[in-house]
C-alpha cells in the first residue's frame, strides 16, 4: 500500500532559488525509506514537506491517495495522527517544564484521540523500554539516549503508520546509538520509517529502500542493497568511499 507519493515536487523558500527540484518518490507501507544527503542537499526541506510544515511550489504530494492539503484541517488531523516525527536533538525537542507523562500524552490530547490516555502512555513507555516510573519525572533527569526514547514514545503513542526520523542518533554515543537503532528496528515491524540522515551506515541498517539527495535533486534511488553493492552515481560512490571504516575487517 502506498503511504506517501510525491510527483514532480519542487520547492523554494524564495521564488528565485529553488531548494528541491523535480522530486519523485513513493513510500510503501512496510518498506523503510532512507534519505541520505549532506548539509545543504535539501533533506530537511524535503522532510518539512513530508510532514506538512511547508507547501510544495510545484508538483503534488498525496497521502494514501489523497492530496496533502495543509489548509484542510480535518484531513490534517488524520494526517498528523498517521505521520509522526522524531528529531535529532533530544535536549531541545522535549519541553523541560512538562513531566514525561504529559509529553508523551501530548499527541493524544492535541489530536483528540479517543483512547485511555494513561494506558496508552504506559504502553508507549513499555514499547521503548523505559520504566513506568519515568512518567512522573522531568526530561532533565534522563540521559541523551533515554530522552531520545521519550521522543520516540511520543511519536508512537498515537499508533501512527509512518514515522519520520531526522538524524535521530547523530547526537548519541556509539553504544547508545546501537541500542536506539535496535529499538527502531523492533518498532519498524509495526510501522514504516523514513530515516533522514547523512550517515549512510545508519540508513543501511534500517532501510530497505534508499534515496540519495544532492543539491536538491534525487541522484539515485532504489533498493538499499543494490545501491550499496553497485552505486551508479558518482556522488553516491563518493559518499561510500568517504565513510571511514574499521581497519582489517
Amino acid at each position: 500500500m502506498t503511504l506517501l507519493d510525491l510527483s514532480g515536487v519542487s520547492f523554494g523558500y524564495t521564488k528565485t532559488k529553488p531548494v528541491l527540484h523535480g522530486i519523485d518518490l513513493t513510500v510503501t507501507a512496510g518498506d523503510n525509506l532512507g534519505i541520505v544527503g549532506e548539509s545543504g542537499s535539501g533533506k530537511t526541506t524535503l522532510l518539512k514537506l513530508l510532514i506538512g510544515l511547508e507547501r510544495v511550489s510545484t508538483g503534488a504530494i498525496a497521502f494514501r491517495g489523497n492530496p496533502l492539503d495543509t489548509s484542510d484541517r480535518a484531513f490534517m488531523r488524520g494526517f498528523r495522527r498517521s505521520v509522526q516525527a522524531v528529531f535529532q536533538d533530544p535536549y531541545s525537542s522535549l519541553d523541560p517544564r512538562q513531566r514525561v507523562f504529559d509529553i508523551i500524552a501530548e499527541p493524544l490530547r492535541s489530536l483528540k484521540v479517543d483512547t485511555d490516555i494513561a494506558a496508552a502512555v504506559m504502553q508507549a513507555l513499555k514499547d521503548v523500554d523505559l520504566p513506568a516510573d519515568a512518567a512522573v519525572r522531568y526530561p532533565h533527569e534522563f540521559s541523551g539516549g533515554q530522552r531520545q526514547r521519550i521522543a520516540i514514545a511520543r511519536a508512537i503513542v498515537a499508533k501512527p503508520d509512518l514515522i519520520i526520523a531526522d538524524e535521530v542518533v547523530s547526537a548519541l554515543d556509539l553504544t547508545t546509538r546501537t541500542r536506539i537503532i535496535d529499538l527502531l528496528r523492533t518498532l519498524s515491524e509495526r510501522m514504516t520509517f523514513i530515516v533522514v540522515s547523512h550517515d549512510i551506515a545508519l540508513v543501511a541498517l534500517l532501510c530497505e529502500r534508499l534515496v540519495v539527495l544532492e543539491k536538491g535533486r534525487i541522484v539515485e534511488q532504489g533498493a538499499t542493497r543494490e545501491i550499496l553493492a553497485r552505486p551508479k552515481h558518482s556522488y553516491t560512490q563518493k559518499l561510500l568511499a568517504s565513510t571511514p571504516r574499521m581497519p582489517g575487517g
Binding site: A201, A229, L239
Partner: protein, 269 residues
C-alpha cells in the same frame, strides 16, 4: 629521546567528584595518537589539562610534562610561551573557535605575526599577507584571496575548519591537539579534512593527539590509540592490534558496534 608530552597519574577533581583518575600516557615527537571515549569519559578534560586550560575550580594532580616544562601548577604566564610554540589546538566547532567579527585572513595573520615575534622577526604587512595566503593554500582552501577577505559566516563549515587548522599550523607547534575536529562536518568533507590533517602532521613532523568517539576516524589518522571510560584509561595500544583484538570488554563493545556499521555497508548481492 624523551617524550614530547608525558602525562603521569593525572587526576582531575571538581566539587568532590573525581572526573579523571590515574591517567598516564606519552606522545613522542611526530607521533599520532588517538584518544577514544564517549561523552563524559574525561577525554576533553584530559586535553584541556595538557593545554593548561582547565577552569580554576578543578583540582589537578599528577604530572604533565610538555616539551620539558611542567604544566600542572604552572602559572599562566609561564604557560603562555608554550602555547603556540609547543602546543596548539583545533576544536570541534569552527564557528565558535573563530571570531565572527574578524576577517579570516586577519585572524590567521594575527597568529602569523605573534609567532614571528617569538622568533624575533617583525614581518611587514605584505609579508604577513603573503604567509597567510600560503597557509590558506596549504590547507587546500580554494581561492585563498577570497577566503582571507571573508568572515567566518561567509564560508562553509569545512572551509571554517580548514581556516582553524591554518591558524594552528601558523604556530608551527610541536604537538597539535585536535578535539573532535571533524565531528561537525559532512562525511565527504570529513574525509578531505582528515587526509589534509594527516598529511600536514606528517610533513611538519608534528605530534598529534586526536580526540574522537569515532573508532574508524581514529583508525584513519592515528598510529596508536588510548581508550578512556569514566575518567580512567582502560586500554592502549597500536591501532591495528587494538581494534583487531581488544582486551577490555568495553573496547570490545565499541569495536563490535563500529564493525556492525561497517558490515551494514558491505552488502553483497
Amino acid at each position: 629521546m624523551s617524550a614530547l608530552l608525558s602525562v603521569e597519574n593525572l587526576d582531575i577533581r571538581a566539587a568532590g567528584r573525581t572526573l579523571v583518575s590515574g591517567v598516564s600516557f606519552s606522545i613522542g615527537a611526530g607521533e599520532r595518537v588517538g584518544l577514544i571515549g564517549e561523552s563524559g569519559s574525561g577525554k576533553s578534560l584530559t586535553a584541556l589539562a595538557v593545554l593548561g586550560l582547565l577552569p580554576d575550580t578543578m583540582r589537578v594532580g599528577g604530572s604533565i610534562r610538555l616539551d620539558g616544562h611542567q604544566v600542572i601548577g604552572a602559572r599562566d604566564r609561564d604557560l603562555v610561551p608554550l602555547r603556540g610554540v609547543s602546543i596548539a589546538a583545533v576544536f570541534q566547532e569552527p564557528i565558535t573557535a573563530l571570531d565572527p567579527l574578524m576577517r579570516i585572513g586577519d585572524q590567521v595573520g594575527e597568529v602569523v605575526r605573534r609567532r614571528a615575534l617569538r622568533d624575533g622577526e617583525r614581518p611587514g604587512k605584505a609579508e604577513v599577507r603573503r604567509r597567510v595566503l600560503a597557509l590558506l593554500d596549504r590547507v587546500a582552501l580554494p581561492e585563498p584571496e577570497r577566503i582571507a577577505r571573508a568572515y567566518p559566516h561567509g564560508v562553509s563549515g569545512g572551509q571554517r575548519q580548514r581556516a582553524a587548522i591554518a591558524m594552528a599550523l601558523a604556530c608551527r607547534p610541536k604537538l597539535l591537539i585536535a578535539d573532535e575536529p571533524t565531528t561537525a562536518l559532512d562525511v565527504t568533507t570529513q574525509a578531505e579534512v582528515l587526509k589534509l590533517l594527516e598529511g600536514l602532521v606528517r610533513d611538519e613532523g608534528m605530534g598529534l593527539l586526536f580526540i574522537s568517539h569515532d573508532l574508524p576516524v581514529v583508525a584513519t589518522i592515528a598510529e596508536r590509540a588510548l581508550v578512556m571510560r569514566h575518567g580512567e584509561l582502560i586500554e592502549a595500544g597500536l591501532v591495528g592490534p587494538l581494534f583487531q583484538h581488544p582486551a577490555h570488554p568495553y573496547t570490545q563493545g565499541l569495536v563490535a558496534a563500529a564493525r556492525a556499521f561497517d558490515k551494514a555497508l558491505e552488502t553483497t548481492l
